[in-house]
Subunit: 349 residues, 2 copies
């Protein structure tokens, strides 16, 4: 493989200029840049896959790949907006751009082409599921040593780096809170099991029951899709087994708010007849009626941390020092309980 | 100036291939692409400034330039998240990427370099103010015939195209609603006058007063910064003139929610003692306590419309047909009143 010096000689420039072009730092005449790139190309000069992308011109963009769901205003959900705010903060500090791209949920997605065509320097994947097509597409990035992080979703493949929140703990705390208040029969309104974070929530809920030797009852499980509407619709199923329920834990605040609305319309007061706890500690949680007990999740911090790590891995020092040691990391941020009124029975609230 | 045929001849490809490369449509072998670009470059083939950017490789990205305000989670505000959702929907449909970039509020910003360096094909400006540095920077895009739209902010310069909401009408409707209910002395909590949309809201408020021959009283004007915290803090100033106030109109829901919280803490019930109306019809408005009367603003539609128009202007047909006829357009979308409980006195609600 050619050396930097050979590239410099062929292009008729200094080695420093070769570095400046390949790392895309500082102002460089377009002609000089072209000469260096051509020389590097002719000599097959490649540091590694990332350097090759740099050689074509670093984009200065961090890609954020989001699922596209028709009619869902993704940015208007607390979950995505907070993660994006955190990413945006880190990206802004680094003077980079944040390139939002959509993928079809559950389908294959060609992440590698985003690197190959220099649209992005690094990638963050949001709202990913465990569906095989998605895992396969993401694994391809790991196999090619591309710089990326998945946020709030984990995979069996240990090569896939993730920043997560501890949803086992969060959901455990929510269920335990209801059990601590003397309730025994706790309904659980969860999101799709395609998300590892939903499965983690279920695990936390089950752990809390196990601790009290309360048998797990599948008939007390309900499924929504994390939208308020799905929470509202779940009210119907929950009302059918109301006699058997002491309280309900929901896997996010939006579903809890929808559920409470549905229960209200059916004349079932919350928390009076049925205490409810949410999850996320979203913007609205403190202001809805009744104020929502919930679990705080550091979404903003997750986004910021993942983006900061990515950009650290992009730095020349990290690449020289072997970013592979950094890869494969799973970072789990803690969650915590926030008690307001929706989970307390009327008398106590 | 060279013709497309000359470029095709020099590159040894068909004219159709030249078009496909320069418009970046369909799959093209990298070698073919390079040959065409080199030939076009050598012959100085340029359709216009935009085509020149295409010749360097169309980015496939719509740029969205946002103000960076430390500690403000922009995406978590209803205003930005809804506009971005609308933009995202249009951009997704067109198969393009959405490149978010931050600018310093009140400072000059070099939009043109984003086009020159092919980072973006077209630009949307969000959260812009009337400060001279910002207007100057945006005017530079108009002077260079770059494809762009400003959202929810208007300028004196008729060359700057904008998609707006009719905030004069919206604010007029809010004030008129309070006047219709028999209130006369209406406080007005507005945002910064640096935004044309704040000035429009003030105009609407004044118009409603004028219609009833109620003199405008500057002492009933309060200023926040559209954050909930600023609404909470405004409660103090509003409490000082409480004796003189029948009701308060706020320029967004967040300030209204903060104000209501501040009033509650001071023992002043809303709407019982002081009816309050918000503005935006945000996600939370229906669920807060009391449910917020407000003004619906089609933010999502504004973002979608602006992005769709931009992308239409980018299409080859529009460019051939003279996109300049399209430029300079101001599109104003209507707003409407939404009555819930916060503006109704307790007895009536």
């Amino acid at each position: 493989m050619a050396s930097r010096k050979e590239v410099a000689d062929l292009a008729g420039v200094s080695e420093a200029t070769v570095s400046r072009v390949l790392n895309n730092v500082g102002p460089i005449k377009e002609e000089t840049r072209r000469k260096v790139l051509e020389a590097a190309d002719r000599l097959g000069y490649q540091l590694n896959a990332i350097a090759s992308s740099f050689a074509k011109g670093r984009s200065g963009n961090i890609g954020v790949v989001l699922p596209h769901v028709p009619k869902v205003r993704l940015f208007s959900t607390f979950y995505f907006s907070e993660i994006l705010s955190g990413i945006g903060e880190a990206v802004q500090e680094a003077g980079m751009g944040l390139l939002l791209l959509y993928r079809e949920p559950g389908a294959e997605f060609d992440y590698l082409s985003l690197f190959r065509t220099s649209r992005i320097d690094a990638c963050l994947v949001l709202g990913a599921t465990s569906l095989p097509e998605e895992e396969r597409s993401i694994s391809a990035m790991a196999d090619s040593d591309m710089p990326f992080y998945v946020i709030d979703q984990k995979y069996e493949n240990p090569g896939i780096p993730s920043v997560l929140a501890d949803h086992v703990q969060g959901s455990y705390l929510a269920a335990k809170h209801l059990l601590d208040r003397g309730h025994r029969s706790i309904g659980f309104l969860n999101g799709s099991p395609h998300y590892s974070n939903s499965r983690d929530r279920l695990e936390g809920y089950r752990r809390a029951l196990r601790e009290r030797d309360i048998p797990f009852d599948e008939r007390l499980l309900f499924e929504g899709n994390y939208s308020r509407k799905s929470g509202f619709e779940a009210a119907e199923a929950i009302l059918r087994v109301l006699d058997r329920l002491d309280a309900v834990a929901c896997s996010n605040d939006r579903m809890a708010i929808g559920l409470i609305q549905g229960l209200k319309e059916a004349g079932v007061p919350v928390p009076g007849r049925l205490p409810v706890i949410g999850y996320d500690d979203s913007d609205a949680a403190a202001f809805v009626d009744p104020p929502l007990s919930t679990v705080r999740v550091p979404f903003y911090e997750m986004g910021k941390l993942a983006a900061e790590r990515l950009m650290r891995e992009l730095s020349p020092a990290a690449k020289a020092g072997g970013s592979e040691a950094e890869a494969g990391r799973i970072e789990i941020l803690p969650t915590s309980l926030v008690i307001r009124q929706s989970s307390l029975t009327a008398k106590e609230s």
